[in-house]
C-alpha cells in the first residue's frame, strides 16, 4: 500500500504528527542521544525531537556530534534497532509455586504492552524486524510474548540520508530507502517531510495531518538524497547468497586469523538486529516457595552456548566466529529464505577490536587464500 509522493508536512507542523499519534493512543518513542549514542526514548508530550545529531561510525568506533542542522534524522543508527522492543533482553516466561506437599502450580507470564509509536525507524531495522517475525512467528511456533509486543508497534520510518562509513544496506538490498513494513514513511528535507502511509493505520493518522502538496523540486531533492545515500556506501558483501561459498570454506585459514583478534565478547550479537539466541534460567526465591523462569539474550560467542553434558562443541573462538558467520550469512538462506544480515553495520562499529564482517567474509569466500 504505497501512496505516491503527494503529501508534504512542513517542519513547523511536525508536532501535529506527534499529537495525532498521542491522540491515537500511542506512546511515542523518539531518537535521543543518551550516554553518547542514539537510543529510542519516550518523548514526553509537548516535547520536540532532537535536532542536528550527526553520527560518525568506523570499525570499533561510534561518535556523536551535535551540529546546527535543523534536521531531526541526519544520522545513521544507534546501537539497538527494534529488537529490544519486541524480543526483550530479559523477560519472565513463566513462574511456578510449590506448596508444602510439593505440588506445583505453573503460571505463564503475558506481556501487556501499550501501543507504542517508534519515530525514525531505519530501513535496515524494518528488514531485521521482518526477519525476526519469520523466526518468532512461524508455522512451527508462534511466540506469544513476541507476538503481543509486535502487534503493539506503530512504525514511523525515515529514509536514511546519512549512512555511516560502516553501513552496507545497499549491498544487502535492505536500504537506505524503506520498501515496506512501515505504517508511515518520511523523507526528510530541510524545511519538512514528505510523508507516505504503508498501512491503513498509517493512512488514518496521515488523514488528520495539515499537509501541503509536494513540489516537483522537493521530489527531485528526495530522489537525489536517496541516491547519494546509496552511492556513499563503500562497504559491501560479496554476494547476497553466500551459503555454499561459506560451507565450502570451513577450513579457510582466515578463520584462525580473525579468531586471533576476536575477543568472543558477544557485542556483535548483542547489537545485531536479527540475532535471536536466548538462554533460559530459573531464579528461586530465598524461601524456595516460588521460582521464576526467565529468558535472556544469549550469544553463540559464549562458552555455555554449545555446552552439552560435559562437552563444549565450540570451545574456542575460531569455531564460535565461524558458527556466527556461517549461520548469519549462510544457513539463514535455507532456514528463512534470505541472509540474516541487513547491512546495518552495527557489528563493525560496536566490535571493540573493529572486526569488519564485510572484510572477513570477502577474504573467506574469495578464490585466493
Amino acid at each position: 500500500m504505497h501512496s505516491p509522493l503527494r503529501n508534504f508536512l512542513p517542519r513547523n507542523n511536525f508536532s501535529e504528527l506527534l499529537t495525532a499519534l498521542s491522540d491515537g493512543g500511542y506512546r511515542c518513542l523518539a531518537p535521543k542521544v543518551c550516554d553518547g549514542a542514539i537510543v529510542y526514548k519516550e518523548l514526553p508530550s509537548q516535547d520536540t525531537l532532537s535536532t542536528g545529531i550527526s553520527i560518525h561510525q568506523a570499525p570499533g568506533s561510534y561518535r556523536v556530534e551535535i551540529t546546527d542542522s535543523a534536521r531531526n534524522f541526519g544520522w545513521s543508527n544507534g546501537p539497538q534497532g527494534l529488537k529490544p522492543l519486541v524480543f526483550k533482553s530479559r523477560e519472565t516466561l513463566w513462574s511456578v509455586r510449590r506448596d508444602t506437599n510439593g505440588q506445583m502450580t505453573f503460571t505463564e507470564s503475558a506481556a501487556e504492552p501499550d501501543p507504542v509509536a517508534i519515530i525514525g525507524v531505519r530501513s535496515c531495522d524494518l528488514a531485521a524486524l521482518a526477519l525476526q517475525d519469520k523466526h518468532f512467528l512461524n508455522n512451527h511456533n508462534r511466540d506469544s510474548h513476541y507476538q503481543t509486543r509486535r502487534a503493539s508497534l506503530f512504525l514511523v520510518a525515515v529514509n536514511c540520508t546519512h549512512p555511516s562509513d560502516t553501513c552496507f544496506c545497499a549491498s544487502t538490498g535492505d536500504g537506505p530507502t524503506a520498501q515496506d513494513g512501515f505504517d508511515l514513511l518520511l523523507d526528510e528535507l530541510d524545511d519538512g517531510f514528505v510523508i507516505r502511509a504503508g498501512t491503513e493505520a498509517g493512512e488514518k493518522i496521515l488523514e488528520t495531518l495539515p499537509v501541503d502538496p509536494v513540489a516537483p523540486e522537493q521530489a527531485e531533492a528526495i530522489s537525489r538524497q536517496n541516491q547519494r545515500a546509496r552511492e556513499c556506501q563503500t562497504r559491501r558483501l560479496p554476494s547476497r547468497n553466500l551459503e555454499q561459498a561459506l560451507f565450502e570454506n570451513l577450513e579457510h585459514p582466515r578463520w584462525r586469523t580473525v579468531a586471533q583478534r576476536c575477543l568472543s565478547c558477544a557485542n556483535c550479537t548483542s547489537v545485531c538486529p536479527t540475532c535471536f539466541c536466548y538462554s533460559e534460567q530459573d531464579t528461586g526465591t530465598l524461601d524456595f516457595t516460588r521460582s521464576e523462569h526467565v529468558r535472556e539474550w544469549d550469544s553463540c560467542f559464549t562458552q555455555g552456548h554449545s555446552y552439552i553434558h560435559g562437552l563444549t562443541i565450540r570451545a574456542d573462538t575460531k569455531l564460535r566466529y565461524r558458527q556466527w558467520l556461517t549461520h548469519k550469512l549462510g544457513s539463514w538462506h535455507s532456514q528463512y529464505g534470505r541472509s540474516g544480515c541487513v547491512g546495518c553495520g552495527r557489528c563493525i562499529s560496536w566490535c571493540p577490536v573493529g572486526i569488519d564482517i564485510t572484510e572477513e567474509v570477502t577474504a573467506i569466500v574469495s578464490a585466493e587464500t
Partner: protein, 278 residues
C-alpha cells in the same frame, strides 16, 4: 490443563528404577488427567523435564508409545538438573513439556530389516523402536540390536537384551571397551560386532544413537557394507533450552535439532556430520 509451548505441566513420579550407579529411569504421569489422556508421542521424540527451581533438560521418552498415560525417561546424572532429577523419589513432582521433535521413521522401515546400533545411554531413545518392531515382529525383516558401552558395568537392562534376543530373527550383540567379570560379550568398540552380525544391507534400515565418535565409526562401516546414506538414521543431541526452534542453541547448519530432528537421515546431515564446531 496447560498447553503453552514454553510453560511446563506438572507430572508426578510413579516409578523409579536405579538402572546403574549413575542412571535412573523415572516413570511419570501428568497430574492433569485430561492432559495425560491426550498426550501422544512417537518413538524418538523427547520431553523437556523441569526440576523445581533449577531448570529444564531434554530427555527422550524410553517407554512404549502405546501406553502414553505414563512416560518413562532414562536419565544419567551429569549436570545440575540431571543430578537433581536422579535423586527424586516416587511421589515427587516435576514439570514436563512435550513431546518435541521428529522421531524414528518406523513407517519407512516396515517390511525391511532393522539394524539398531547404540552406545552408552543411546539405547534409551531406541527402546520404543525395538518394542515396536518386536510387537509387530512379522511386519519387519531381521532385527539386529548392537549395543556398546565403555565398561561392562555400564550396561543397563541386561534382562531386556536377553528377552529381545529370544524373539525369532532377532540378534542381540553386546560390546564393552572394558569387560569386567562374567562379561561374555565382545571386548572392544561396537564396530567389532559388525563381523558377527552379517548385516543385511539389501532392504534394511539402520537406527543409530550414541556418542558421535562411535556413530561416525558405525556410519563408515555401514556405508562400506553398502547401506545407502538415506537408509541410515541418527538421533542427534545439542544444547537445547526452548525445544521450539527458537533459542538457537541446537542450531546445526541449516537445521534446528529440536524441531527438524532429533532424528535425521544421514543423507540430510552428512555435509556437517563430524565437522568440528557444529
Amino acid at each position: 490443563m496447560n498447553t503453552s509451548a514454553h510453560c511446563p505441566a506438572e507430572a508426578q513420579i510413579i516409578a523409579r528404577e536405579q538402572d546403574s550407579r549413575t542412571i535412573v529411569s523415572l516413570t511419570v504421569r501428568l497430574t492433569d488427567p485430561a492432559y495425560a489422556n491426550e498426550f501422544e508421542f512417537q518413538p524418538g521424540q523427547f520431553n523437556m523435564l523441569y526440576l523445581y527451581g533449577v531448570g529444564e533438560i531434554p530427555i527422550s521418552i524410553s517407554s512404549d508409545p502405546a501406553s502414553s498415560d505414563t512416560l518413562t525417561h532414562t536419565i544419567r546424572a551429569v549436570g545440575r538438573v540431571s543430578h537433581g532429577l536422579a535423586r527424586l523419589e516416587v511421589g515427587d513432582r516435576i514439570g514436563l513439556r512435550g513431546p518435541f521433535g521428529r522421531g524414528w521413521p518406523l513407517q519407512d522401515a516396515r517390511a525391511k530389516s532393522v539394524i539398531v546400533i547404540t552406545g552408552g545411554l543411546g539405547c534409551a531413545p531406541v527402546v520404543p523402536v525395538i518394542d515396536y518392531v518386536i510387537n509387530r515382529r512379522s511386519e519387519y525383516g531381521r532385527l539386529i540390536i548392537m549395543q556398546g558401552v565403555k565398561h561392562s558395568d555400564d550396561l543397563i537392562w541386561r534382562e531386556r537384551y536377553e528377552a529381545w534376543g529370544k524373539h525369532p530373527d532377532t540378534q542381540v550383540l553386546l560390546a564393552a571397551d572394558m569387560g569386567g567379570k562374567q562379561w561374555n560379550g565382545v571386548v572392544g568398540p561396537v564396530t567389532e560386532l559388525f563381523d558377527q552380525a552379517h548385516l543385511p544391507t539389501e532392504n534394511s534400515v539402520a537406527f543409530l544413537c550414541g556418542p558421535e565418535p562411535m556413530i561416525r565409526a558405525c556410519v563408515k562401516r555401514l556405508t562400506e557394507e553398502g547401506l545407502a546414506p538415506d537408509r541410515i538414521w541418527i538421533s542427534m543431541e545439542r544444547n537445547m533450552q526452548c525445544a521450539l526452534g527458537q533459542c538457537g542453541h541446537c542450531q546445526y547448519g541449516d537445521k534446528f535439532i529440536c524441531k527438524d530432528g532429533p532424528v535425521f537421515s544421514y543423507a540430510g546431515i552428512r555435509h556437517l556430520f563430524g565437522v568440528k564446531g557444529f
